[in-house]
């Protein structure tokens, strides 16, 4: 992570300020920090790794073109992920096809100290859980994914999925409840 002269991590807000002035290094740092979250959001919505990469590229371009209009009411991350979700939905509409639950880009990351047999079992259970996640309605799926994968608050999640903070919380817990039932 990029730091300033005192060793403190440079905030996204500062990188955005530099990016507005055409600082490519700052823009690159923003890409580095948020590309994984953007990719996962895109993949969850379009269901295809290649299309998701196109969406991520398009979303960053849109975000950077609009930096001057970014007022900072939300965090850069929330703003970018909202653009990513909208871009992904647009890509689906253009392609005129439904999202396919393809998770070829996914792969469980077993703990290093895990027994190989245990690792295989956990890996299978994890893949099953992830596959079932794709079966949830979009808002529940996004709420669960954004809360667990990215650690977003329910307020941030609400901004991205277009609902209130309370509705985002309800979507998350409904989604978790369903997944627990399906996994039993």
């Amino acid at each position: 992570m990029k730091t300033d002269a005192s060793g403190e991590a440079i905030t996204d807000a500062e990188l955005v300020r530099r990016g507005r002035e055409g600082d490519e290094i700052a823009l690159g740092e923003l890409v580095d920090r948020h590309q994984a979250a953007a990719f996962r959001v895109a993949l969850s919505l379009v269901g295809d790794g290649d299309v998701a990469q196109d969406v991520v590229q398009d979303a960053f371009l849109r975000a950077f073109r609009g930096l001057r209009g970014f007022r900072g009411d939300a965090t850069f991350r929330t703003w970018l992920l909202t653009i990513t979700a909208n871009t992904a939905r647009g890509a689906l509409r253009r392609q005129g096809r439904r999202r396919e639950a393809r998770l070829e880009a996914a792969g469980p990351v077993p703990a290093e100290d895990m027994d190989p047999h245990e690792s295989v079992a956990v890996g299978e259970a994890a893949e099953r859980a992830r596959a079932l996640l794709q079966e949830l309605p979009e808002k529940q799926r996004m709420a669960v994914q954004l809360r667990i994968d990215e650690g977003l608050s329910f307020r941030e999640i609400g901004d991205i999925i277009g609902s209130s903070e309370g509705a985002a919380r309800v979507n998350y817990f409904h989604g978790i409840h369903r997944l627990r039932e399906w996994m039993e």
Partner: protein, 159 residues
């Protein structure tokens, strides 16, 4: 140590699994999980989901950065590009002034004519040739950009 209720624990489980909690809060939530089977089962599901989260392909970074560079507006130049353009204007302006100065004795504020214009150059108060010190400080890339701008503007340095 304050006990954590199920409601609070369930909200914080994703942060515990993702390593996003501070040490004190993490230990409080972990202590609750030891005593609550229902929350422990939920934590296990969250952990499964977290470890299997999709990883971003390595190719994404390069693609995005290349697209961002290609998308940079032509009018937007790095700081040294603007400096080069400013130096070009200054150098050309002084060049014109020095040529016409043979006949008109034009005075440029801050600079004094050197001799009787036999060199066609102007020197500042410290004796440095106008434009030259700044040009010396430019990188090869900046100088190349400057030359391209002069050529594209049709001036060719022969104003």
């Amino acid at each position: 140590m304050t006990d954590v209720r199920c409601e609070t624990a369930r909200e914080l489980i994703p942060d515990l699994v993702g390593g996003r909690l501070g040490a004190a809060e993490a230990s409080r939530v972990a202590a609750h999980l030891e005593t609550c089977a229902d929350c422990r089962a939920e934590a296990e599901l969250v952990r499964l989901l977290y470890v299997a989260r999709p990883q971003v392909p390595e190719s994404v970074t390069g693609r995005v950065l290349a697209a961002v560079r290609a998308d940079a507006p032509h009018g937007r130049r790095p700081w040294w590009g603007l400096a080069a353009a400013a130096v070009a204007v200054l150098a050309l302006g002084i060049g014109v002034a020095s040529r016409s100065g043979r006949d008109t004795e034009t005075v440029v504020p801050g600079f004094a004519a050197q001799g009787t214009s036999t060199t066609g150059a102007w020197v500042s108060d410290n004796g440095m040739v106008a434009g030259a010190p700044a040009l010396d400080g430019l990188s090869d890339e900046a100088l190349q950009t400057l030359l391209e701008e002069l050529e594209s503007n049709g001036t060719g340095g022969s104003a």
